[in-house]
Each structure stands twice: as C-alpha cells, then as structure tokens.
Assembly symmetry: C2
Homo-oligomer: 407 residues x 2
C-alpha cells in the first residue's frame, strides 16, 4: 500500500470527513520481501514414534480441539482398556491420513464406520494426544495402585472463576493439525468410538499460527501480543522440566498436562492505553521486547530501574512468571486462541486455550498461586475452565496407550 493510497483514504468521501481514523499510521503486517508463506499440509507424524506422545514437543499446528471425556457410570477397567486400545489404533490411522473404518460400505444396508469428511484431505500434521485424569485412578476401576504419583485434582487457586461444566475430566484428547476439518474429523470419530464407555465433558476449539516467513516468529494471542517468546524449547529443557522419569515404570516418558480455558475481556483491554498494556506484560507490543530491551529475545532485566522504580513492574505477567523469579521453574506452554462467537455484550469474544506440559503439576500450581494473587493481567482475564491429566508415553509398535495399567 502506497503513501498515495493512504493519502486518498484520509481525503475520501467528497466533503465528508470519512474514514479519517482509518489508515492513519496503518502498519503493514505482510512484508512482500519475505519468502512465500505457505502451510505444508503433507506433514505427518507416526503414532508409535518414540518415548513421548506427539503434540507436546511437536511445533504447534494452526488448529486444535481440546476435549475431555468422563467414564459413564458402571464403566470397568476392561472398558477403559478396550477404549484406549481402540483409540490407539484409530489415532495411528488418523495420523497416517486414513479413515478409522469404511466411509462407504459396499453393502448398502450397512452403516459407515467413518464419517467421511476428511476423506481426500492431507495429513496436515495431525497429532492426537491422550491424557488420563485423576478419576481413572479412583476407586471405580481398581487402578488406584497405578496412579502417577503427582496426579490429583488441582486445588482452588486465587482469582479463578471456574464453571463446573468446564472442569475436570477422566480423559483428555488434544487434537491439533493445520487443517480444521482434519481436526474436527479426528475428534468426532474418536468421540463416536467412545460411545457407551465415555461421555463428552467440555471442549475448546482453538486456532493460532506462527507468522510469515521468518523461522523464529512467534504467534500472537488475541490481545495482540507475541505469546511463546520465552518457552521450554530444547530437548534438554524438556528433559529437565517436562518428561516424567521418577515414577512407576509405565509412566516414564509421560508428562502432566494442565488445560485452562481463559476468557479475555477484550473490550476493556482494547481501551487500555499503550502504557497500561506495556505495564501489564512487561513487554512492548510490535517487537514483543522486554521493557528493558529492544528486541524480542533480549533477556529481561528485572533489576533495572528508572527514576527509582523498576522498569518491568514486579506485578507484570512476565515478572511473576519468569524462571528468574521462580527459582528456575519452567513449563512448556502450548496455547491456542479461541473465540466462542458473540459474547453477552454482542462483541466477538476472545480467549486463550492454555495448555501446558510439565513433570509436576506443582509447577503450574506455584505459578498460578502467585499470578492469581497479583498479576496485572488478572483485570483482563478470567480462568473459567480447568483440568489436569497425566499423558502416558507413546506406545511401542504392537501396543497401545497405557497398556501396562491392565497387566
């Protein structure tokens, strides 16, 4: 867009001061000098990949549906076993770009076993990640002896306002891919395969994406801020902070998953001044730099002051969350944006599907206890949904998820 078109806009409308606010200071977000930006939909992940389930260290895809399931009354450990074996087989097929059964049976009196809407689509980097909630290890199924040591419902935490309909879950399924129809199909057909054994609990449909061209570019959340700049990103960090290694043998290579549905109050956020937004996060907006630096990946200096006051407010989101101020603690965040459409004020709502992985749920509890008390961000967000799950390691070929539980 050339300056002349900007000039036009300010003067458009023949006598009416039309569109004057528009275009003033508009910022190009697509830089045409960058390499062509394209999503490769042919990526695929093997389900029997190694020690860990995919969808955790996997680079975030553009779409995600997170869904929880609850065991129906009377479900037995055998029912759960069959479900996990069935889901494992189905996920292996789905990630390889196949249907879970026949979408057009040859016998006309038969009912299709796959719903068909992903037929003809590419794998689109689909990953399906299954977690087991605390309920799996309660008295109902007789599996209590196998409970992962640290798996228990999260305690009440400061400043949350959880909706009971969006809380808990015996199982979680996180399906992510670069094609929304592939994600929808995976979740729909897994839910169908679960009928009779599990009922659907709560769900969040997320989106988000890494930006054009540059490798290291960080996606933005719906507050307009880069989200994921300082994150667990190397295998060494994952070994230290994510994968479980001091638990029962069956749990080795697994991890804990904390999922939160966090509503944003974007009306209020959008009318906050630039200064307030900078203070809330402790970072600038376009660059995503710490207020003590100029570039996104500059290390924040939490001791720097100006005029006797800390430059990064101690109650800013990053000051409260950073490892420097939490005895080195880190979690792997893998969040997605969501909108449920129109909110009560008749505006497009917004939120963050926060999903984090860690080798102890205590990491989340510690951070959120502190942030729930004093994070400046709290004025603009509400935690409404919550669940904690143990994500077992990936099965070896010839086996299925959490098979050792049923020894």
């Amino acid at each position: 867009m050339s300056l002349s078109r900007r000039g036009f806009i300010a003067s458009a409308g023949a006598g009416v001061a039309l569109g004057a606010a528009v275009g003033a200071g508009a910022q190009a977000y697509a830089d045409s000098s960058e390499p062509v930006d394209a999503v490769d939909l042919s990526t695929s992940y093997d389900f029997y990949t190694g020690s860990h389930q995919v969808g955790i260290a996997t680079p975030p895809q553009r779409h995600c549906i997170f869904m929880t399931f609850d065991l129906v009354a009377g479900a037995t450990s055998k029912d759960l076993q069959v479900l996990l074996a069935t889901w494992s087989a189905a996920i292996a097929q789905l990630q390889a770009g196949r249907t879970v059964g026949q979408m057009e049976p040859i016998s006309l009196s038969a009912v299709a076993t796959d719903t068909g809407e992903a037929y003809g689509l590419s794998t689109a980097g689909l990953t399906v990640t299954v977690g087991l909630g605390p309920g799996v290890f309660d008295k109902r199924l007789g599996l209590a002896a196998h409970r992962p040591k640290l798996l228990a419902p999260l305690p009440a935490l400061p400043s949350e306002s959880l909706d009971p309909k969006l809380t808990g879950g015996d199982l979680s399924v996180q399906a992510c891919a670069d094609d929304p129809q592939v994600v929808y199909h995976a979740i729909r057909d897994l839910a169908r395969l679960g009928r009779g054994v599990v009922e659907v609990g709560w769900t969040v449909m997320g989106f988000g994406r890494a930006s054009a061209g540059a490798e290291q570019s960080t996606p933005r959340n719906l507050m307009g801020y880069k989200d994921g700049t300082r994150n667990v990103s190397t295998e060494a960090q994952r070994a230290e902070f994510v994968w479980v290694d001091d638990d029962a043998a069956w749990a080795a290579g697994g991890t804990y998953q904390v999922a939160r549905k966090i509503q944003m109050d974007i009306e209020i956020w959008d009318s906050a001044t630039m200064q307030t937004q900078h203070e809330v996060f402790g970072r600038t907006k376009v660059a995503g730099a710490p207020l003590t630096g100029t570039r996104e990946f500059d290390t924040p200096d939490f001791h720097a002051t100006a005029g006797g006051k800390p430059i990064i407010d101690p109650d800013s989101h990053v000051a409260l969350a950073s490892p420097e101020n939490n005895r080195g603690l880190r979690i792997l965040r893998r969040g997605y944006n969501f909108t449920d459409g129109l909110n009560e004020a008749g505006q497009l709502d917004a939120g963050l599907l926060f999903i984090a992985y860690m080798n102890t749920p205590e990491a989340f509890i510690r951070l959120q206890t502190k942030m729930g008390r004093s994070d400046k961000l709290n004025e603009y967000i509400t935690h409404v949904g919550s669940g904690v799950f143990f994500v077992p390691p990936a099965p070896k070929p010839g086996h299925y998820l959490a098979e050792q539980l049923f020894g």
Copy 2:
C-alpha cells in the same frame, strides 16, 4: 499405512478383542503420489478490483466469518455513509495486509486503533464482502427510493425453524481467508469501527477446504459428501445468474446474497445406512457421482429407471435442486462448514453456513419452497438462521461502497 499395520491393529491388545472395528476397511485419504499439498498464504486481493466485490467469484478460502449488523436507533443516512466509507478504507487496508491503524502508538497515553493480532501475518487471500439488508432502504434513513428492485425480507419458507436471534440484519460482512486469525482480526476490527452506528446481529464461523493436490477436487461437508460439484463456476454463468444488470445504475454489477445457518442432525445422519444416504443426495459418497453415473462430474440422468423406479429419487436433494428440474435455474453456492462445539446431546455439532449469490432472491425462494416441502435431506437438517442482502459492486479507486446512494 501398509497392510501389515492393518494386520497388526486387528490383532493388537494381547488377548482382548481390541480395536477390531478400527482399521477394518480403513481408507487412505492422503495419496502420497499427489503433489505436495500446501496453502499459499501470500495471495492478496485488491479491494478496488473491478466491477464486483471479491469473495463471490473468488475461489473459496479455508475460513469464513459471516456477521450481520443492525443500525442503532436514530442512526442517520450520514452515519451509514461514514460507516461505509470507513469500512471501505479499512477493508482496502486489511486485504492489502495492513492494520487499520496503529497497533502501538508512540504516545504511551494513546489507545491503539488496531488490535494487533494479525500483525506479522500474511494476507492469506483475505476477502471482505459487504451487503446491505432490506432495512437500509426502509423509512428510517430516507433511502427508500434507491432500494434495489428485488430486495425484501425473505417470506416464511416450508420446514424452516428460524431463531429470531439469527434472522435478518441491516448489513452483512462476509470475511474469508486461509488463516483464521486474519479472518478474526478483520471482523473484530470492522466491528470496532462500527461502534455507535451499528450493533452486532448474528454470526457464524465457518471452515472448509478444497482437498489435496488435484485442481478440481471438491470440499466435503460435515455429512461426508462432496459439496459444490455442480455449481455456477464460469464467468458466462455468473453473467447469467449472479450479477445484477437491470436495476438502478448504482446497483449494476452487484448481486443478492442469501445466508442461512443450517444445523445438521449428525447423530441421526451417522446412523443412516449407506442406501439411505445415497437416496437422500442422489449421489454416492466417496466418488460423489450421481447414482446414474460413476464419476463426480457425470451428468445426472433424472429419467433413468431400474425395475420401474427412478434411479435418482425425485425427492433426493440433487433432483429437487438441479437446473434440469428447475427450468434452468442456478445459484452460486459458497458454503462453509461450522460447528458450535457441543450440542445438547453432548456431541460435537455440525452444520452448513449456506451462502449463495444470485441476481434475484426469487431463485432461492423457488428452490427452497420446493426443497422445504419434500427434500429427503430435511430429516437431517434444520434451517435456523436467515438473511438476505444486496451486495453492491466494488467501488472504483477514490470511492467507497454504495457511495452513489448518498449523492
């Protein structure tokens, strides 16, 4: 996926008949011999393109948000004029990959005029298409003399069950792009620019996509069927069926837009036999061929019989909708799939955001009157939302949408 893995799945689970239904007859939907499937996000459309707004003849993108707006009480024609000029300027910026204002004002006490979440993203083929509802030409604004000849609220139609909260609208905005965040941002920032003059009415967030590799491949709806096989697709057809040319001068090159939110009852659909599904559409599922042919683009033969009965049921969806049985009538369909998450039965719901373009709304009324009475598909769908709009032609450079109304 090799046969051996299929063999494994059927025998997985060491002694438990696990996952037996899964994998039996599984069908590959990704054919690795096809060229790499990728979405090019660098496509962009100029807003001042020619005679017609984009988003109509434009190849469907993967995401779409459709939103209606209603003028607030007391809004004047001047208010509408300023809004259309402002939106035009903003849309031109958005489609060119720019923000609509500053996302990080230099003055820290200022409030950002762009919400920022699309900053750094590619244009992603964004098209924003604006329509004017019948209300724009009622007594309120004094524009009645300019009413496009055929613009009037749709009459009640058979078998619909419209929700008043999802009906009508003074303005419509259809934003489509290959990146959901680009679509979200466009709608959010246009809605913000409209505050004080319009309120949000109803909205549907759609997705869908053309499939891997092959040029002519047709996307599937959430019933698993190819949708769009026989559609208005050439410029000659658009000239005949889509663009308005016998109306007021300002309306030439415009078109009528009918939007319907159609809920699917996928529980019932998923348990219907293959024969029933074939009969409902008059087409097969994998190939999408008419029941009288074998390939997708074979022309259906509505006269062919077997055993004295028509092969394509006269009450099948395609028999009722096809031009052969409607004196040559055609409409341009540009639909998207949607899901609102969990329905009352606790299952992932599904539906079709039906958007069609035509040079007379009578085309839709005639078809839907007939289909609403006897379409076999009616057992599985419910029309819950509805609106009709006149989509003015694209503005010439230096002008804005529907400028001639305010002459």
